[in-house]
Symmetry: C2
Subunit: 341 residues, 2 copies
């Protein structure tokens, strides 16, 4: 465990982002050396082979292990909901946190199926962030407090982390972050979220544009964009990504909102997501282009748009299968199977 547990200032955080640990070359080489010995044509397990190597590389050990797989869901409320950007009322955020705690949500079933430990952090749900069309969503200390909750959520002994979110209104925050980072039109980045359409969707895009215009002076500064246009659950996800990196925990990103939080970190430090895979590409239309910006092809394309880390949890089984093949298969020599030609 790295001894960095929290950040007291933006400048401390910026300094840490500039010296993130890199890939573990010996672990990567050990994985690369074993793979061609396994009883299959070279490359024939495709992406499973890449995942096995990724797991070793970012755990920093070979063989990798998956004894402790964790999923963390962060929940926040958004002042911009007052502008009517969502199909659901804001009280659904706290109701869904109750549903997570009672075991009734999709993520509970998916974590159970994946053998993953689930924890949910509800971030000041009774105090929504400020409406980003009127001012910064969070003050610097509010941002750091949420970021540090995310940092602290990553256990020392976690082997693989999936992260996601719940927050009525947060696809508006995600769209605003993407528009601020990458430009284009607000409609390029604004989608139905939980299910708005027609005039309501047009209005949502106008609010996103208004928010980004309001904070133009943030320039391309990823952390400032995340503070001004994001929300507590997005800041916490960014914190979890950084803590995972410092603790050598490979990470599965969930959908559009999670990827938008990650994109802000990526803007601050282009290598900051090297330990992350995109678990799935969401049905939220802008997610596909966001993953292209991040250079992260998704593992799954299932038309999901729930959030809650549901896509990340669904992908855990694929990672388990990749590791099972890499560690459990016989070599050509062990099995007495003739090699190619």
């Amino acid at each position: 465990m790295n001894d960095i547990r929290s950040f007291a200032s933006f400048s401390d955080l910026r300094a840490a982002l500039s010296v993130l640990p890199g890939p573990d070359a010996p672990a990567a080489e050990a994985a690369q050396a074993r793979e061609p010995q396994l009883t299959k044509p070279p490359g024939s397990l495709g992406r499973l082979e890449q995942i096995a190597e990724w797991l070793a590389t970012w755990q920093g050990r070979h063989p990798a292990s998956l004894d402790n797989v964790c999923v963390r869901v962060f929940a926040g409320n958004h002042g911009v909901v007052a502008k009517g950007v969502s199909a659901y009322p804001a009280e659904v955020t706290v109701q869904m946190v109750g549903n997570f705690e009672a075991g009734g949500a999709a993520i509970n079933q998916l974590c159970k199926a994946a053998g993953a430990e689930l924890k949910v952090a509800a971030l000041d749900l009774d105090q929504p962030t400020a409406d980003f069309t009127e001012g910064p969503a969070m003050a610097e200390d509010e941002f750091l407090a949420a970021f540090n909750v995310g940092m602290a959520s990553v256990p020392d002994d976690c082997d693989l982390l999936g992260i996601g979110e719940m927050g009525i209104g947060n696809t508006s925050a995600a769209a605003a972050i993407c528009l601020a980072l990458y430009g284009g039109e607000a409609t390029d980045w604004t989608g139905p979220g939980t299910g708005v359409s027609g005039d309501a969707l047009n209005a949502k895009a106008r609010i996103v544009a208004e928010g980004v215009h309001r904070h133009e002076d943030a320039g391309g500064d990823g952390l400032e964009i995340l503070r001004r246009l994001g929300g507590r659950e997005l800041a916490a996800m960014a914190g979890a990504i950084v803590a995972a990196r410092l603790n050598r925990v490979p990470l599965l990103l969930d959908g559009y909102v999670t990827s938008a939080a990650a994109a802000a970190l990526h803007a601050a430090q282009p290598s900051a997501l090297d330990h992350c895979l995109a678990a799935h590409v969401s049905a939220e239309p802008a997610h596909r282009q966001l993953l292209v910006k991040l250079g992260k092809p998704a593992l799954l394309d299932f038309g999901m748009r729930l959030g809650e880390a549901s896509g990340a949890a669904l992908a855990i089984g694929l990672v388990r299968s990749a590791l099972a093949c890499h560690t459990g298969m016989a070599t050509f020599a062990e099995a007495g199977v003739s090699d190619k030609d």
Copy 2:
């Protein structure tokens, strides 16, 4: 369990294909009625929702169950290997069957990870089918014997079946079947298989073309095409598909060779694959267009090209997750969560 256990003639088989059981409407309706009550925006679990409905529809009960998940791998040898179509020698088929039995292959690890029971049927490996460039791969009785092995491999109490194959040379058989069924050029359907390229790949395509030309008089008859150009493991997979349908077992198709066997059945009876999903799209280039012909979008696109039912086994976890969400999630009423608007 349906009382049909085997077929004694092509005409009996053709008659059975004309009266296959259809989808179970009450089970499908029960799944459709439950889905919108679950605590998530409608449709937000995307393909997972479709899989849950598919499972109930083809098991013929709601809730569906996944207590007994089975994977069956069929192995055969091919006379056409003498023409040099594979990068590996024919003895690898029997060596890999030994590897399956010893637990050292990819499919062993994937079945263990998926909680699936694996059985392997080796089909007269010491008697390769005839070289299809010289005559029919199988006589009618040889074809039916292999088909019936596949039929018998599906247990009465199986809840979900994954099927796949092992057989040096069988991507040539698959390519020949597709060319005979769908036309085009031999190069459209012929790929590297275990890893041939350059001149060897061109030669493989010429042999495929030669075989299809030799059996032109089969016309578009799917069963005749499968008998003349296929192999015992392909006939057995077709038998497993039919037995699964008769026994109400939803089925996951593996890669290119499995899909080619399925395509022959589809040509014989267009509804014959309605209980099947394509688990993955293989890196074997022709698989993608074959799945378009079958109207079956793949669950996974992982660049795999191993066969052995590896893609089917990998997808089992996705099906388990779909069922877990459908059966385990709380309803809006149970959880006290506000519904949309």
